[in-house]
C-alpha cells in the first residue's frame, strides 16, 4: 500500500506494508535517522515523533496510521534558515544530554507540551515527560532546558 502524509512540512508518498512501523519507515525508507529506537515497548520514549501535534511511540505505531496526517521528527524542528528550535538550543545550553540517544524523543515530547501549554509548571513538565527515560543526565538539566525553552519561546513570540 502507499501512504501519503506531511513530513516536516513537506508532502511525502511512500510504499509500505501494513506491518511497517512509522519508525521503520522514517529511518529506513526515508533515511531520517534522528528518530532513535530503544525499548520497542512504548516505555522509553526515545522514538517519540509528533503526529498531528501529539507524541506517539513510532516503534509501536503503524506507518499506516500516518495517512493524511502531519508528522514531525527532530529533523523538522529547525527553521528554514537553519536556526535551531528554542528547545534544541536550550538542550545544548543547559547540558541536557550526554549520550544523546533519548534527546530527539525528549525534545519532541517537550514540544508537544509547550505547544499546548506554553508556560508549564515544573510539576506539569515532570508529569508530561514521565514516559521519557534518560540514563545519563539525572533529569534536572532536562527540566531546566524545558523551562528555558518555554521562556525563550514566550519572548520570541
Amino acid at each position: 500500500m502507499t501512504v501519503e502524509f506531511q513530513l516536516n512540512g513537506e508532502p511525502v508518498s511512500v510504499a509500505i506494508e501494513p506491518r511497517h512501523t512509522l519508525a521503520e519507515v522514517l529511518t529506513r525508507k526515508l533515511r531520517l535517522t534522528g528518530t532513535k529506537v530503544s525499548c520497542e515497548a512504548e516505555v522509553c520514549g526515545a522514538c517519540t515523533v509528533l503526529v498531528d501535534g501529539l507524541p506517539v511511540s513510532s516503534c509501536t505505531y503503524l506507518a499506516y496510521e500516518a495517512r493524511g496526517k502531519n508528522v514531525v521528527t527532530i529533523e523538522g524542528l529547525e527553521d528554514k534558515n537553519g536556526n535551531l528550535h528554542p528547545l534544541q538550543q536550550s538542550f545544548i545550553d543547559e547540558f541536557a544530554f550526554q549520550c544523546g540517544f533519548c534527546t530527539s524523543g525528549m525534545i519532541l515530547s517537550a514540544k508537544a507540551l509547550l505547544d499546548e501549554n506554553p508556560n508549564p509548571t515544573d510539576a506539569e513538565i515532570i508529569d508530561h515527560l514521565d514516559g521519557n527515560i534518560c540514563r545519563c543526565t539525572g533529569y534536572l538539566p532536562i527540566l531546566k532546558a524545558v523551562r528555558t525553552a518555554a521562556t525563550a519561546m514566550e519572548n520570541y513570540s
Partner: protein, 288 residues
C-alpha cells in the same frame, strides 16, 4: 528493530461489516483499536494475526455523550480523548483523573478505552475504576447486542468473554449520585502499576458516616475484582470504618488471588493493599 510478521489491515464501514470480517477470518483475525498493546503482543509472537480489522475507522465509535445520570464513551475514544473531555471532567472527574495517569502521554494519544478493556491486561487502570463505578459495556455481534459488567467482560488475564465476531462498541457509566464520593489510587515504581484500587463511598452526611462502599482492586491479581465481604466491613461512622481498614484489606487480599510478578511478590501486594485502601478512603472523603 524487531519486525512484525505480515498482516493485512481491513477497514470496515460499519460495526456489522467489522463483525463479518472477524467471523470470516476466525482465529487468524483480530480487532485493531489503537495497537498500543496488540502490536507488542504481535511483535513478541504472543498473538499471531494475519488480518487486523481497524475499528477506529468506523464512524461514530469515538464520541462521548452524556445525559443527566450517565455518560457513554465510544470504544474507539483514546485515553487522551477521555482525559481531556470537558463532559467527563465535569460529570465524572474521577475518570478524567485516572485517564490522565494511564501509562504515558504517547500511549494515551493512541491507545483506546475499548482496546484496553478487551485486551484485559492485568495492569489496566480503567478496568478497575470502571468496575467500582458499575459501568456497563455495550457489545454488538451476530446474535445481537449485549450489555456486560466489566467483571463479566474480563474473565481472566488477557481474556474476555466476547463471542467470535462480537465487538465492544461503548462504555456506559452511571454518574455519581450527590451522596457518592469516589477515588482511584495506584502505586507504581516501574512501567506498570503494582496496585490499582478504586472506592465509591455513599455518605449521606458529608463524610461522617458511610452507608455503602464499593471497592475494586486490580493489577495485583489476574483481573480486577470486588469483594462483597470487604465492602460490608466499610460501613458505619468514619471512625469505625477507618478502624476496620486493616481487616478489610486482609479480606480483599484473601479474596483476590494475589500474584507474584515483576511488580512484586504477593505478600508485598498484601501490604500495599492496607496502605492504599486507607489512602483511597481518605482521598474519596477529603478530596486530597
Amino acid at each position: 528493530m524487531t519486525p512484525l510478521n505480515r498482516f493485512e489491515i481491513h477497514q470496515p464501514a460499519t460495526i456489522t461489516e467489522a463483525s463479518r470480517m472477524l467471523l470470516e477470518h476466525g482465529e487468524e483475525g483480530g480487532c485493531y483499536a489503537g495497537g498500543t498493546e496488540l502490536l507488542l503482543a504481535l511483535r513478541h509472537r504472543a498473538l499471531q494475526y494475519q488480518h487486523l480489522v481497524d475499528i477506529k475507522v468506523i464512524p461514530g465509535l469515538n464520541s462521548i455523550q452524556a445525559a443527566n445520570d450517565w455518560i457513554d464513551i465510544g470504544a474507539a475514544c483514546t485515553h487522551r480523548d477521555i482525559e481531556r473531555s470537558p463532559l467527563i471532567r465535569e460529570k465524572l472527574p474521577v475518570v478524567a483523573e485516572m485517564e490522565s495517569h494511564v501509562a504515558n502521554v504517547r500511549v494515551r494519544a493512541s491507545g483506546t478505552i475499548g482496546g484496553n478493556l478487551c485486551f484485559a491486561e492485568p495492569h489496566s487502570d480503567p478496568a478497575t475504576l470502571l468496575l467500582a463505578l458499575e459501568a456497563v459495556v455495550r457489545t454488538e455481534g451476530e446474535s445481537g447486542a449485549r450489555e456486560l459488567r466489566v467483571d463479566e467482560l474480563i474473565n481472566g488475564a488477557y481474556s474476555n468473554s466476547l463471542e467470535p465476531g462480537e465487538l465492544l462498541t461503548s462504555i456506559h457509566i452511571p454518574v455519581l449520585l450527590p451522596v457518592q464520593r469516589a477515588a482511584y489510587v495506584k502505586y507504581q515504581i516501574r512501567e506498570r502499576p503494582a496496585l490499582g484500587l478504586a472506592v465509591v463511598l455513599d455518605t449521606p452526611d458529608g463524610g461522617a458516616t458511610i452507608s455503602q462502599a464499593r471497592i475494586a482492586i486490580g493489577c495485583l491479581c489476574p483481573f480486577p475484582r470486588r469483594s462483597a465481604a470487604a465492602e460490608e466491613m466499610l460501613r458505619g461512622s468514619r471512625e469505625e470504618v477507618e478502624a476496620l481498614i486493616p481487616q478489610a484489606a486482609e479480606v480483599l487480599a484473601d479474596d483476590a488471588e494475589l500474584i507474584d510478578d515483576n511488580e512484586g511478590a504477593a505478600d508485598y501486594k498484601r501490604h500495599l493493599l492496607g496502605v492504599f485502601l486507607r489512602r483511597a478512603v481518605a482521598r474519596a472523603l477529603d478530596g486530597a
